[in-house]
Symmetry: C2
Subunit: 66 residues, 2 copies
Amino acid sequence: MKNTIHVERAIRRITQADLASAVGVSRQTINALEAAKYVPSVVLAMKIANYFEKPVEAIFELGEED
Amino acid sequence: MKNTIHVERAIRRITQADLASAVGVSRQTINALEAAKYVPSVVLAMKIANYFEKPVEAIFELGEED
DNA sequence: CTTAAATGTAAAGTTTGTTTTACATTTGAA
DNA sequence: TTCAAATGTAAAACAAACTTTACATTTAAG
């Protein structure tokens, strides 16, 4: 599971804390997600995708591991 | 969180057990998902969406609760 | 250079996803 | 109607998501 959250964030010049509060999770959750430390729930994934106005697949990609 | 798994399954005339083994989870997991008893991980959601050849958003929908 | 904001990281704890086992009920085909 | 397959459900156990607190490091602006 890979994701491009930090890229999307960079484009919009948004902070981890900003995104976190926008989607209702802690900043560490966003930080850990960007570090690919774990796999989020679909709900969180969809909230993030919605926030960036992109489909889930544009931000999250299945890897070999999955 | 709503989903249309059982509809997609009906269309393809596929059993819960079939889908379960196709995406690598237990049959109870699929059953519980259809009953909306919990929210899956993005990985599982994407595997299910891929299996049905549809985007995640076509199968999973955020509700008020989320 | 200095300072504040942003980020990385880590441990402990809570909650929630997922598996396993097991059994009861429904459905469909013969 | 009978039997097998499919589905519903439930409890215990385990794994993984997510929070909280707390601190160290990096980055950017003044």
